[in-house]
Symmetry: C2
Subunit: 417 residues, 2 copies
């Protein structure tokens, strides 16, 4: 399979891009090739790396809008947990497909997931063609999340033959997984060379409880049990002090900023971006699950990410447009250790085309500014992932069926409850 | 002119809506009529009142993306003011048209504007068919904003024959307009029964300077000169204390929340929504100008408005979806004193149709939640304003020319500078 993209705007210049197999083979002017597929950007499309959503729970699309404007405890206990207890493999399959469809339509080509029934999620992602890291969830209060089950799942899943899907070990959090099981998780992950994906320091309560139980703050606690390393992807990371940020820097962890979810659930604090940057911690971006956002549109996430940091620091120059695009692309690739996140020869071919005819790009003084502050995921016209065209002129194969089936599953799920 | 909208979802039920002239004549089931235009929602479209943007500077679309991520002083002095000094009537005409096009495409049917060359703005709005209140700007340091010029403009504009456009008197702010001229403005406005539109308490500096000069906070100062009344629309209103909020309540002023702009320019505080609500002050919503947002999409503004209040109050139940839709519709209509903002028989026919087939409405547990938290202005399929169809299936008459001409004007403006 080869694709030639002609007359596409890359970093302000009209270029051609040749994709062979799953890689960007050549970038230049007037490229000629016998590529099987040709796309002509006509100078009216720009190209960006596919966006990388570093923390989500994809199949929670099934719960979008099901419980909003509620206190966290009520939201979890009355809405989310009772429904989650009823989820079947089939629900997860269709919920994940719906999420993948939304991600494709809004320019995300890689997502880092953490949810139930990973086998069904993998099947959905594989069929639709996105790149993803699927977490095997470890949690104390559900037998699906026992270490025995995680081990069994891992052995059944044949990790090496899932490409472009990969696996992580995903202990939910320090409050939902015991010390013993956290240690088991990190040992298991390191034995099989799998990344660790965990929620950390999302709420003040989590910090307070950890201090009470261990006389340590959450990051100090993880450090003490030798959990932290370059293989760690830490979602939220909101309630941290300077000492904890320095530990994360020393251990070369990646942290995921989830601004919309943090605001919507009113976690009460703002991700300390400036301090992470000063300490050279790798910062990525994520939407969190579609029940607490309620969108998977990483363009909106970039805008809100930047706005919120400007507010926090009382400084409009903080997290400028170029930098927020970097955290949504290159930094994500670094965290997930995949050769993506930039449009360069030799990189894997995960890229999105942007329709510059849309009004959000007018008058067009600054493309980078327009991407972050003016547009939404709706500006994406075409999506290529791992060298395959997943969306062409906003059309995705099978989208009607996905919407129909996922909607049915969600409605039936609510009825079962 | 009459329009029959069949099979449209209104408050969760399939209904028909008959529009005659510029009003909603009848809402019911199985309406039959000889309406000239028919639109069939097929149960796949919902209807909402057109959104009301209560504070913007429309023609600043010409500057979208021209100066972002800068300190306020640098942004104004090096970017915005030098360009504004070069603006011609023709620039304003095309800049306003581009803004109107974006507003139509994202479901806004009324905007409250404050900018230069009102005659050109009015011409643009009139041609495109939106409803608007155009402010005649009073400012001390520019002869275009002198009271003589405002008076001359007003007398030339024939206010009574502009419908559905109306005029306001718009003294820029307490720091850009002298006490004497503020008093002139409110007297002039009241003599001719025109609303007053002003920026107030956007930055801490404004409050500090006012205290230094008058030993009064901004709202106290306006109260002292008898400026405040039911006819006042106060943009920003961020840095207020309890006493000022009580004054605004007593005087029945309307305040405009501009969350994105406040974040992007890092004004350092958050609009005190909860206190306004407790004091029954009429709160409206606005995008501010497209140079400090950089979008005119009121759907995004609703999402960010709600998220930010949840964060401020550390409470996810604050400013729920239903309430934020109200501030973007009914409350705006109240401030602007126009018979719009709701879909009811007898109201003026300003309404927007929503395409429920879009993925942001799937699975569709809660339409109101989806409108605020999941979708963007791109979900709007059709727009009717003052009984006229302005957008049909996302197509607006003349849109290509507007984009082309406005882009040319913006590029030439930057060249002139």
């Amino acid at each position: 399979m080869s694709i030639l993209i002609k007359n596409i705007i890359l970093d302000g210049e009209k270029k051609d891009i040749l994709i062979e197999g799953n890689k960007i083979k050549k970038i230049g002017k007037n490229l000629d090739s016998k590529a099987k597929e040709k796309i002509d950007g006509k100078g009216e499309n720009a190209v960006l790396p596919g966006l990388i959503n570093c923390h989500t729970h994809a199949a929670m699309t099934l719960f979008r809008g099901y419980g909003d404007d509620l206190l966290l405890k009520e939201w979890l206990e009355k809405k989310i947990w009772p429904l989650e207890a009823k989820l079947t493999e089939d629900d997860i399959y269709w919920g994940t497909k719906l999420a993948c469809l939304e991600m494709i339509k809004t320019g995300t080509t890689f997502f880092n997931d953490m949810y139930w029934h990973p086998k069904a999620a993998i099947e959905a992602v594989k069929e639709i063609g996105l790149r993803a890291m699927i977490g095997l969830v470890l949690i104390d209060f559900d037998s699906k999340g026992s270490k025995e089950n995680v081990e069994k799942l891992y052995k059944r899943l044949d990790a090496k033959n899932l490409e472009p899907i990969s696996l992580s070990i995903a202990p939910h959090s320090i409050y939902a997984v015991s010390r013993k099981n956290l240690i088991w998780a990190k040992n298991f992950a390191r034995k099989y060379n799998l990344p660790l994906h965990i929620h950390i320091s999302e709420t003040k309560k989590e910090v307070k409880d950890c201090l009470k139980k261990y006389d340590l703050r959450p990051v100090e606690y993880l450090e003490k049990i030798s959990f932290l390393g370059e293989d760690c992807i830490l979602a939220h990371s909101v309630w941290l002090n300077d000492k904890e940020i320095k530990i994360l820097a020393k251990r070369k962890c990646s942290v995921v900023y989830n601004p919309t979810s943090n605001l919507k659930l009113a976690v009460g604090n703002i991700f300390p971006y400036k301090k992470f940057k000063e300490n050279k911690v790798n910062v990525c971006l994520g939407t969190d699950g579609p029940a607490s956002n309620n969108s998977l549109d990483m363009f909106l996430e970039m805008k809100i990410a930047s706005l919120l940091q400007k507010h926090k620091e009382k400084n409009p120059t903080i997290l400028p447009a170029k930098e927020v695009i970097k955290i949504a692309t290159k930094n994500g690739a670094k965290a997930l250790k995949v050769n993506i996140g930039e449009i360069k020869e030799g990189k894997l071919a995960d890229l999105i085309l942007i329709d510059l005819n849309q009004i959000c790009f007018k008058p067009g003084h600054n493309f980078i500014s327009d991407i972050v502050y003016s547009t939404t995921g709706n500006c994406v016209s075409d999506v290529i992932c791992n060298g395959k065209i997943l969306m062409r002129e906003r059309k995705v194969k099978g989208e009607r069926e996905i919407i129909k089936k996922a909607t049915q599953r969600a409605k039936e799920l609510v009825k079962r409850y």
